[in-house]
Amino acid sequence: MLTPVLSDNWDADRAWTLPSYERGGGYRGVRKALRMQPDEVVQLVKDSGLRGRGGAGFPTGMKWGFIPQDNPKPKYLVVNADESEPGTCKDIPLMLASPHTLVEGVIISSYAIRANTAFIYVRGEVLHVVRRLQAAVAEAYAAGYLGKNIEGSGYDLDLVVHVGAGAYICGEETALLDSLEGRRGQPRLRPPFPAVAGLYASPTVINNVESIASVPSIVANGAEWFSSMGTERSKGMTLYSISGHVKRPGQFEAPLGITLRQLLDLAGGVREGHQLKFWTPGGSSTPLLTAEHLDVPLDYEAIGKAGSMLGTKALQIFDETTCVVRAVLRWTEFYKHESCGKCTPCREGTWWMVQVLARLERGQGSETDLEQLLDQCDNILGRSFCALGDGATSPITSSIEYFRDEYLDHLRQGGCPFDPAASTLFATVGADA
């Protein structure tokens, strides 16, 4: 059921080093790609059906095809490694365990779009990852995989590891570009789109770590191999990160379209003596789902049909000890803290919703507050400048949809009916609320 490709070498001895990576067949993709024409690489990725693993699922090859090759300005590849979405934990383990997989992907992808400079924008808090990346880049330079005339092909590439300062908004691609240019990270007005005028107003491709890291395996094994995995429109393998109230949390690499029920089995199930209450399919910005969705295939289409989004495939599992109001409030506080402040709906809306939710958690208010909250969300979703505001409404609207009565219980009881200690991971197993 599992298809370890990206994570295949994670258990190898010193997997993050170049010798270890090469022993496992690493950098074969680079040699193969450099013998192809750049357009052939683009076509290969198009044929594979690889879709962006950062959450939106945009076809990667198509994105590369948008780069105007007649533009005289330099082209850039920027890897979005600013993984900050609550619950999302795939890029950081990947870069920690096998940074060369990403570096190899960067070389092939840059070659495909004819970029001679690439950047990896890493979230600032993960210093251990930054060190592994920097070491890997240094190794790649020393081995001739980066720098001038790579592998005798005549192709030059410089790769810069850039460390962000730790802002969720910088995961938004245009805010990331502003931050990379040394400005405050705030999303840019589009058009122009980054493919036309991105970094330093030059054509730029911005891809998620996992998308780029998937490229070497596609080049090495072919588009057909990749598209044989997954579902009709969601091809290939991907990393699912399971966290929360499960026995064995972690990263599980499987074809797109696997169900949570299958993944839960692999993770040993919900912790002993408890049942699944709700879960997020792709981080806190995706509307939460419940046990009734256990058999929904985890691909872009089916999850969309179920009213949520696949997002980053960050499956956060909450059992019945969890107060949904409390969980949603915590998430909303995160969005309030991370709102960049540029646009009104996100900036002011998150400020307001936190206060309303906090009041509801204390059991103060009335049912009309729920209608008002939903209306506030209605005034943010699709009205904000970027998707951060949209994401902030997801947990609220979905939790009221599935757990309206639990909100009302808070009001009826004048406070939270749950024991917060019972939901902690260190709570005595089987303890009752």
């Binding site: 540029k342 900036r347 307001w352 309303v356 009205r383 949209d390």
Partner: protein, 858 residues
């Protein structure tokens, strides 16, 4: 800019049909030029979409989300598709960022419930953290937030939680205050500073609801245009220290007018209450100043209300020898008697005159005094300049305009520092320099790359004072500049002090075919020239040496116009001092602005009889035999002529004032002299001036003054005493001075506005890096500037000047270089290190008023 055209006006002239895009807005067909934003297309059919961050002169940002509208576009199959997302939801679009496209269907709040709800939602969000302190807010009553909350918001708030608060207010600069909790974070102020004025150190900082407009602790927000951010703030977040809490908008009487502080003729609005102007705002004139004015135009408005305002005529008492109050008839009679008795008289006018007043002086001199001795140049000037003005400027039709600058292929700035001397011109030049295509090449012959020249990306032809003629000559052959008929030459008045410079300018213009405009500093100068306030030039640019021109004017005036030779300002003062000129009529002249202030004072003192027409007490009124109080611009009607040659009429703002215009006072004297002017009002003067029209005959020849030899020329021998380059006290260097007036400075028309003055630059002299090192001083330390006539201490700064050139402000911080050091452009001065260690700590205090022996400041 103006996006014309609803369906009714598309067939009007000037709009090219091929550039039009057709769409529907709320079911109404609209055609607008390609590239028009939806929000402005809607304005064409009278639909006002609410907005905050949008400003027609700033680049779109789409931050406030107030202007959301529903948009559908035809797909490839021609079917209209409403813009959607997230799944299943209509996604209303920001109409301030979206250009129109063919076949687009726009539904605003009027026809789309989705857009209406979205707008209400955003408005509610904007108000949750807004203090709603409208009753005590300056903006209350004229506030876009208040107004649009009423038109596009809900009546009652649903927000019962805790608002974000900040300590209030904080200073953005001395004159701009920020109440952060009122701010809606539209970024208009920060975008203005970046895109229009180019002044850094005001920016958004922090994030989320704590985002705020911030400044930089280590560098001040310094701008000559800062007041504009107050005006474009759509809420009461930015207020002016001067106007804050002074008035309610609905208690003010607003009058459109024209600014009198430079030759740009910027449109302004003067708001007054109980007979006092309380504030000024920028008017909107796309052809002149667009929607921006300088801080001087905005904040320097209290000068006429100072305690030294002259309120009634004064005459010198025969017995006591003191000035005493007099009636108007008595004053007129005594003035006429004195002028008659003096036999000969000259007329000195200054830059505050309107065209109408200037014409009255021009006619008064010829008709009533029978002389050509009249000169409007109350600043360093030359005979070469007079000839240049007669040949190239006076009475010329408007050839170069603000708008033309944006279309020019190349622009040359000579002896002109637009950011300090003509603010609206600077903004237009900067706008031209930032155009996405068709940018003009801007070249400047200047002693160094000033901040203003840097901001318009000018190529600086670095030129030491005195060396301008050679630099100007070389421009004709500059391949990079490639000056031709598509180019524009802008000449400042300061070039008058360099022999040969204006002659070279005339040659350059002839050789290249480039258009030429003369940009004086003062509001009245261009109009005065055309009205005939220069001995060699009769009204309309007619050369007084030309018999046909004299006949022309004589026919209207009913006299034989004199062809007597004439004296310029310096000539008249010299003659008066020597007793060869019996009387002086002086109006609006600050003697400190002249070449030789001490000599000018002595001359006025020595003159047999002095009539002074003035707004406030001055060195001249104190000496005068008859003082006639006249009205400042706000208390009379009239017009200024811009540097372009554009006539800018304005009405009387303070209608309750009884103050009279210069023209009325002159008419009173003329009547007593028995030689009536023929008009008593500005309207009468304007009618006659218009009747005269422009001269279409032969013009005076260009000046042909050779440049001075490379070394010997320059100052008038005021320096040259000590030859020592070093002594025991500190290193001293003899250098050549280059100087101009900064916008915020010591002029009497800037009196009475402390916050405005405090926001100005610290008086600073600039030296090259090498010169700084040689002196052993670092930026920010004090240095002394001295001549044998005096000295002054300034803070020192660095610029890319020649190593033997020093720049200093002409009149700032209490120091007037001409008055206190006897120094002007090209003078030799000594720069030395100041030893007093305590000085370094107080750069904010003005440099010490200059006097001999001052080495330390208080």
């Amino acid at each position: 800019m103006t996006a014309v055209a609803s369906t009714t006006s598309t067939d009007g002239k000037g709009v090219e049909r091929t550039d039009l895009v057709s769409l529907t807005i709320d079911g109404i067909d609209v055609s607008v030029p390609k590239g028009t934003l939806v929000i402005r297309a809607a304005e064409q059919i009278g639909v006002q979409i609410p907005r905050f961050c949008d400003h027609p002169l700033l680049a779109p940002v789409g931050a406030c989300r107030q202007c959301l509208v529903e948009i559908a576009m035809p797909g490839p199959d021609g079917e209209l598709k409403t813009m959607m997302g997230p799944p299943g939801r209509v996604k209303p679009q920001a109409s301030c960022t979206m250009p129109v496209s063919e076949g687009m269907q726009v539904k605003t709040q009027i026809s789309s419930p989705v857009a209406d709800k979205a707008q209400h939602g955003v408005m509610e969000q904007l108000l949750i953290n807004h203090p709603l302190d409208c009753p005590v807010c300056d903006k209350g009553g004229e506030c876009p937030l208040q107004n649009q909350a009423m038109t596009n918001g809900r009546g009652e708030t649903r927000f019962t939680e805790v608002k974000r608060t900040f300590p209030k207010p904080i200073n953005i600069s001395a004159q701009v205050l920020l109440d952060r909790e009122r701010c809606v974070l539209c970024a208009r102020c920060t975008r203005f500073s970046e895109q229009i004025a180019g002044d850094p150190f005001i920016a958004l900082v922090e994030r989320g609801a704590l985002q705020q407009v911030g400044i930089y602790e280590k560098e001040p927000y310094r701008s000559n245009f800062a007041g504009n951010v107050i005006q474009i703030c759509p809420v009461g977040a930015l207020t002016s220290a001067d106007y804050r809490f002074r008035a309610r908008p609905f208690d003010l009487v607003s009058t459109p007018s024209v600014a009198e502080h430079d030759s740009c003729g910027s449109a302004i609005r003067v708001d007054h209450r109980r007979g006092k102007p309380v504030r000024r705002l920028a008017g909107n004139d796309p052809e002149v100043n667009e929607e921006w004015i300088t801080d001087k135009d905005r904040f320097a408005l209290h000068y006429a209300g100072q305690s030294d305002r002259l309120t009634h005529p004064l005459v010198r008492d025969e017995e006591t020898g003191e000035l005493r109050g007099a009636s108007w008839p008595e004053a007129f009679a005594l003035a006429a008697r004195g002028l008659q008795a003096a036999g000969t008289a000259g007329v000195l006018t200054g830059g505050r005159l309107t065209r109408e007043d200037a014409y009255a002086y021009a006619k008064f001199a010829r008709v009533c005094l029978g002389t050509n001795d009249i000169d409007f140049r109350s600043r360093p000037h030359s005979a070469e300049e007079a000839q240049f003005l007669a040949a190239r400027v006076a009475g010329r039709p408007m050839d170069v305009t603000f708008g033309a600058l944006e279309k020019a292929t190349a622009i040359v700035l000579l002896g002109l520092e637009p950011e300090e001397e003509a603010g609206a011109l600077f903004l237009r030049l900067r706008k031209a320099s930032r155009a996405s295509k068709g940018r003009p090449r801007i070249f400047a012959v200047a002693p160094f790359t000033s901040r203003g020249l840097g901001k318009m990306k000018a190529t600086v032809v670095r030129t030491a004072p005195g060396a301008e003629p050679a630099a100007i000559e070389a421009l004709a052959h500059d391949g990079e500049l490639a000056l031709d008929g598509g180019g524009v030459i802008l000449v400042g008045e300061r070039l008058a002090t360099v022999p040969g410079a204006l002659s070279a300018v005339a040659v350059l213009a002839s050789q290249t075919g480039a258009k030429l405009a003369w940009v004086p500093r003062r509001a009245g100068d261009r109009g005065a020239l055309d009205a005939g306030c220069l001995g060699g030039v009769l009204p309309g640019g007619r050369p007084s040496a030309d018999a046909a021109a004299r006949v022309d004017v004589g026919a209207v005036w009913g006299i034989d116009v004199t062809d007597a030779p004439w004296r310029d300002t310096t000539g008249m003062l010299t003659s008066a001092a020597a007793g060869r000129l019996g009387a002086l009529v002086v109006a609006g002249v600050d003697l400190d602005d002249l070449d030789d202030p001490a000599g000018a004072r002595a001359a006025v003192e020595a003159a047999g009889f002095v009539v002074s027409l003035e707004i406030r007490e001055s060195a001249v009124t104190r000496r005068a035999d008859v003082v006639l109080p006249v009205a400042p611009p706000a208390e009379k009607s009239g017009s200024f002529m811009t540097w372009e040659g554009r006539v800018r009429p304005f009405p009387k703002v303070l209608t309750g004032s009884n103050a009279i215009a210069d023209v009325r006072a002159l008419a009173g004297i003329a009547d007593e002299l028995g030689r009536p002017l023929g008009f008593k009002t500005p309207q009468g003067a304007a009618a006659e001036l218009d009747e005269l029209g422009r001269w279409d005959g032969v013009r005076a020849a260009d000046p042909a003054v050779p440049p001075a030899s490379s070394d010997g020329q320059g100052d008038t021998g005021s320096t040259g005493s000590t030859g020592a380059t070093a002594d025991g006290v500190g290193t001293r260097h003899r250098m050549r001075l280059t100087t101009w007036k900064t916008m915020v400075g010591d002029g009497p028309m800037q009196d009475g506005d402390p916050a405005y003055h405090a926001s100005g630059p610290t008086p600073t002299v600039l030296l090259s890096e090498t010169a700084l090192d040689a002196l052993g001083v670092v930026v920010g330390e004090p240095v002394q500037l001295s001549t044998d006539q005096g000295s002054a201490v300034f803070q020192v700064g660095v610029g890319d000047l020649d190593d033997d050139v020093v720049w200093a402000p002409t009149s700032s911080g209490g120091v007037n270089l001409g008055r206190d050091l006897g120094a002007g452009a090209g003078s030799e001065v000594t720069v030395s290190r100041v030893q007093a260690p305590a000085m370094a700590a107080s750069p904010a205090s003005p440099a010490s008023p200059a006097s001999t022996e001052t080495t330390g400041a208080s």
